[in-house]
Symmetry: C2
Subunit: 324 residues, 2 copies
């Protein structure tokens, strides 16, 4: 197996040399800019690791890996417009640095290039690879729409919330692994199991995100605590708290959510106290572990040389105990 | 050969029954709405006619035909946002009827569905079909960016203008025919010739558009004359006029373009008079015929049963002498 930092170097190298036309400058410069902002490159890593799991060669999978990363960044670029976000990875977003039209169109071009890279897959699996890619690309769009819908709604149930994070984030992690597996020569049933591993770990990862926002170590986590609380984000913790609270506590929560003038630290402290009182952290952790275990079970069922699974197990564990 | 209105019926029928998920409503309803607004369905027609030209079966080409139409409508949907257009085919645009975020995201979903339909092509040609589709999809994005750039620039030369209309419109007409040809079993060289036919006819078509805006029969054309003049659109006529005008006439043109308060009819009349004086209409017609002839020459070179070309010749001619 190739070391993860080696795979990452390979991915970043390939991204840096991604062929793009020179003109029009306004179309391609934002693509170069956005792709250079970095990130963990988790999805292309998963494509390559999925391929290696079945003894496939990295060369066969690298273009699809870049394709998935291009697609992921295209969704971030368009999400940034929709969420009106000024920053992405501590840099100005494309619609801030250029304008909304440039952001829409360069995102579209990025998606076209993503498809082109995916189409470089081997002829014998290209239709399977594209079917997985496109079906999950559509799910990511659905997830983003649900996310926007839920922002406008006062009450969301947990099932809808989990379905949303599954669509918006988890399925693309699963798809990355499944695509890698197909390129590595896996049987379809094994590729599907690897998808299930990624999808479940992905949901666990998002739930962990919700928990870390409130209970993470600020020092280690490198982020201010309670950003979700300040922004009234309907996380697992908030939805569960609203569901469990008696009418008095529920009113207290709603008051904090409706408050337009407040000291941020006080709001975070008060809402956290309610979470603690109701014990929603433990429930979120239980739910998270539940998905984590489901993911691990799927991985175990896959018929391949056992020691090859080690890297994926380690990656999954590191996602659960992480610092950013 | 199947009659054109039969093909159109087939296309509209297939579009009406296009499988789309039910939820989220806000993602898929705009897709259904936009696709139902109609239009000439020229691109899917060209896919089917390209296929028939080589004796291929319509069933083999229909999904790709719908894929191209979905892609085309996706670009219109996003262009409407960028151009801030309130109406499309006399109906509210998606960003007007819903909002910009819905328009961005439902457009993205439409593009994914377009790719899925394209991937239904026969296994032996799917990679060629997708390569043509994606390469030209990227060109369409480039064309839209050039178009937006040129709106901000005082001086555009004719070569840049023609390159822009080629990218924004003509290449997708060419690609539709080429994709159809590939699906119909054409040799690659013949498929490329058919692309050249479509690309050249497409440029001629756009030049004809520029001419008809000023010189079209209002009654027959069903549109008010001189919309391009009122909007200061840099058409072939305007660019050529600015290029040919002496300093006095040039100033007159620039004054009309910079005027913020004017009677529309007077502006149209004055600018048309300058066009007439300079004789730019005849030059535009010459240029148009030049591209038309080039297109016809490419068609002639194609090695296929001659009588099958008849429908394409008729279509090309009807595009040149049209009423809408």
């Amino acid at each position: 197996m190739i070391a993860q930092h080696e795979l990452q170097r390979l991915i970043n190298d390939k991204i840096a040399r991604l062929p793009l036309n020179a003109q029009p400058h306004e179309l391609y410069e934002p693509v170069r800019y956005f792709m250079s902002l970095g990130g963990k490159r988790m999805r292309p890593m998963l494509v390559l690791m999925g391929c290696e799991l079945f003894g496939g060669s990295i060369e066969d999978a690298i273009d699809s890996a870049i394709g998935v990363e291009l697609f992921h960044n295209f969704t971030l670029l368009h999400d940034d417009i929709m969420d009106n976000s000024p920053l992405r990875r501590a840099h100005p977003t494309v619609h801030e640095k250029w304008n909304v039209n440039v952001a829409i169109l360069s995102g579209d071009a990025m998606f076209v290039r993503a498809c082109e890279m995916m189409m470089n897959a081997r002829k014998d699996v290209v239709q399977q690879v594209m079917a997985v890619f496109l079906a999950n690309a559509l799910k990511v769009c659905e997830g983003q729409q649900f996310d926007m819908n839920y922002e406008q709604q006062a009450n969301i149930n947990l099932q809808s919330y989990i379905r949303m994070i599954e669509l918006k984030t988890a399925v693309l992690l699963g798809a990355s692994l499944e695509i890698g597996a197909l390129l590595g020569g896996a049987k379809e049933s094994d590729a599907k199991l690897l998808y299930e591993f990624g999808r479940n770990i992905g949901i666990a990862f998002q739930l962990q995100d919700d928990i870390l926002d409130v209970y993470g170590d600020e020092q280690k986590f490198g982020k201010q605590k309670g950003r979700d609380i300040v922004a009234n984000k309907k996380t697992f913790l908030m939805i569960k708290a609203l569901e469990m609270a008696n009418s008095y506590t529920q009113e207290e929560l709603r008051n904090w959510m409706q408050a337009t003038r407040f000291v941020e630290k006080e709001k975070v402290k008060a809402v956290t106290a309610i979470y603690d009182f109701l014990g929603v952290r433990a429930l979120a952790q239980k739910e998270m572990m539940n998905y984590f275990e489901k993911g691990m079970q799927a991985l175990e069922q896959i018929q391949t040389v056992a020691h090859r699974k080690k890297d994926l197990v380690e990656l999954a564990e590191s996602l659960m105990v992480r610092e950013n």
